[in-house]
């Protein structure tokens, strides 16, 4: 990561004078922030504030040195991007506009990333589905950017509640996928997502998924760093592939003509390109490991009964662990922070001794369960229960997890 020289800083400060709608000599607030490395940002003193998940995301974006934000509103994402709009007004985001719809937004933000600037977009459930055509092309196009994904029901009957089945659609795209548990994660993860996604040996888009309303519209304590700091800007020249050069005509719209023209493409080229994308996903693990303090968090390691969860289900599982603990039962919990890269070796290490494993999830598909069983097959003797699960965006009551534990003990398998 490079920090800007004093020269660059001087050049940048105050360059936006005479901005329409702003007083003479207005200086964007972002230009007055001090650049610190992500390592430093994560260790600076913090103040704890009671705020919603959308506000937590706003505070993260404020410190993320974002050049370009494009999004089309959809509940429950709209509230976060409304907050991002305030940041644009204050000058923390350099450019911001509302897309026409999601195919447009997701295509446009890809263009911004190709041009070499730090790019942010956001969506929810059905919007993600609409944007999927463009989104699936991001990893192969090697476009570092961050997609904030506030999960919402996509299957019928229609609802706006936080069912996270949509994450399953992202898992095989070649994107990096983080799953935030709560408001605090929704502040920390986007900052980490930007830096990891822009690492040269990664150069991939990163989704920060969060379980919609339960986090975005709900309040929780969030510890944040002073707003005078921001992470370093994206260096558009440090990429796995060259950025688009818009300054020197002719602007090259494609990365490499033979790659994008299907009548020239060799299957080998497609294969090696995709293999490289997924190798880059694996290479990102070392960075996530460093900044997240591990791809997984383990509570009560070595327990016979373990819960494996991601996102909001982790919070419910934590409460189940506490209530069982009060009764004298030690239950283990593995929080999976990154779904892609998938922390397979870490999960095997943390779960190989277990006798029973439960995978609480907020979706019908059981995508986390599928990943867990595939990983543990042949490495662990535990009975892996296919649930508990809730559908349609319902919260999983802690009582449901406790019931599954109780029933499994009574069944005496």
């Amino acid at each position: 990561m490079s920090t800007p020289t004093a020269e660059v800083k001087r050049k940048n400060t105050g360059k936006h004078t005479n901005v329409p709608g702003k007083p003479e000599g207005w200086v964007p607030a972002g230009d007055l922030q001090e650049v610190v490395t992500l390592e430093k940002m994560l260790t600076l003193p913090r103040e704890t504030i009671f705020m919603t998940g959308s506000e937590a995301a706003r505070e993260s974006i404020r410190r993320a040195n974002v050049d370009m934000a494009i999004a089309y509103p959809i509940t429950p994402q709209s509230e976060t991007m409304q907050q991002a709009g305030y940041l644009y007004d204050e000058g923390y985001i350099k450019d911001y506009y509302r897309g026409e719809e999601e195919i447009g937004s997701m295509s446009a933000i890809s263009g911004a990333s190709r041009a070499g600037v730090r790019s942010l977009t956001a969506t929810s459930g059905p919007g993600l589905m609409r944007g999927m055509e463009a989104i699936s092309s991001w990893p192969g196009a090697r476009t570092p950017l961050v997609l904030l994904d506030m999960c919402r029901v996509i299957n019928t009957p229609l609802a706006i509640q936080p069912d996270n089945i949509e994450i399953s659609f992202l898992l095989e795209t070649g994107m990096l996928v983080m799953h935030a548990e709560n408001q605090q994660d929704f502040y920390d993860y986007p900052l980490i997502a930007f830096i990891v996604s822009e690492e040269v040996d990664v150069t991939l888009p990163c989704t920060v998924s969060v379980d919609g309303f339960f986090v975005t519209h709900a309040r929780g304590n969030v510890s944040i760093v002073d707003k005078k700091y921001k992470i370093p800007p994206r260096d558009g020249w440090r990429n796995a592939v060259p950025s688009m050069d818009n300054e020197n005509p002719p602007a090259r719209l494609s990365r490499d003509a033979p790659i994008q023209k299907s009548n020239f493409i060799s299957y080998h080229m497609h294969a090696s390109w995709q293999q490289e994308v997924f190798a880059a996903v694996e290479r990102s693990a070392k960075y996530f490991d460093k900044y997240l303090g591990g791809l997984i968090e383990v509570v009560n390691p070595g327990s016979d009964e373990m819960l494996i969860a991601s996102g909001a289900a982790v919070s419910q599982a934590r409460e189940a662990v506490r209530q069982e603990g009060e009764k004298g039962n030690k239950i283990g919990l593995i929080k999976v922070k990154t779904i892609r890269p998938w922390p397979g070796p870490q999960i095997i290490e943390a779960a190989k001794h277990a006798k029973k494993i439960f995978v609480p999830e907020f979706n019908q598909a059981g995508w986390l369960h599928k990943n867990v069983t595939t990983t543990l097959y042949g490495h662990c003797q535990a009975k892996i229960y296919n649930g508990p699960r809730v559908f349609g965006g319902m919260t999983m009551p802690t009582e449901l997890i406790l019931d599954w534990l109780k029933e499994s003990r009574e069944r005496k398998e």
């Binding site: 009671f50 959308s54 509640q161 709560n182 339960f214 929780g220």
Partner: protein, 244 residues
């Protein structure tokens, strides 16, 4: 109640300020030094549509999120939540834990169906009627302060947050940090502000409503032993300390 943890489910109608009430109660608990979290649940933001909001209150750190399926406190902001079924949760006491409490905004007892009566009896539920809308009309001269009345009443029932912390939360909502509830609420704010020429006046009316229902609950003998009434003028003064 010998419960160290309160799970509060609020149900009301769009426009009554249920979500705002949950923010105010929850923020008040945090100001008082305990832990709280909340989550709203609503469809399109329109008047009279069912609204629910959930507040968790605890002396310990709270992990759980999302709606509360098994509450030990239920707050009903409007009788038609029960009588007309204007609710996401039917019947309204579904999931109520043994010995739970229902605080209902009504001047007169609800004519429960036999099933409802039995449901409440089976769970050994306590039902408290607080005429919050009447008190809001009398004290604040507007039924828009009904949600403040509900906040005052529940704080007395739970014995937390204390009135001054609750008042501080109301101050945060109107003139302090500006709690973001939703876009629709922002539009409503300007309408209310027109009615009350000054925010300070609005704040005072709200404070007096909090005080009146808190006192009502104490007078009925429903208050938690920790509940403590402060002088109404002192409460108003504690909130007007900040710059308007």
């Amino acid at each position: 109640m010998a419960v160290k943890r309160y799970n509060v489910r609020m149900a009301g109608l769009g426009g009554q300020g249920v979500v705002t009430a949950s923010h105010i109660l929850s923020n008040g608990v945090v100001i008082s030094g305990a832990h709280s979290s909340l989550v709203p649940f609503f469809g399109s933001e329109k008047r009279n549509a069912p609204v629910e909001s959930y507040v968790r209150i605890s002396a310990e750190e709270i992990y759980e999120i999302g709606e509360i399926i098994y509450p030990n406190i239920i707050m009903i902001f409007h009788p038609s939540v029960i009588t007309l079924g204007k609710s996401y949760t039917m019947p309204f006491y579904t999931g109520l834990k043994e010995g739970g409490v229902c605080v209902i905004n009504s001047g007169t007892p609800i004519n429960f169906t036999p099933d409802e009566k039995k449901g409440l009896e089976d769970m050994n539920a306590k039902v408290y009627y607080v005429p919050c809308t009447e008190i809001a009309n009398e004290v604040a001269k507007t039924d828009l302060a009904t949600n403040m009345g509900m906040c005052g009443a529940i704080s007395a029932v739970l014995g937390m947050p204390d009135l001054v912390s609750l008042g501080g939360s109301v101050k945060d909502r109107f003139i302090g940090k500006g709690i973001v509830v939703s876009g629709g609420t922002a539009a409503l704010d300007s309408a209310i502000e027109k009615k009350f020429a000054k925010k300070a006046k609005l704040l005072e009316a709200n404070m007096r409503t909090l005080h009146a229902t808190y006192k009502y609950v104490m007078d009925q003998g429903w208050a938690h032993p920790d509940a403590k009434l402060v002088d109404a003028d002192e409460l108003v003064a504690s909130a007007s300390g900040a710059a308007v």
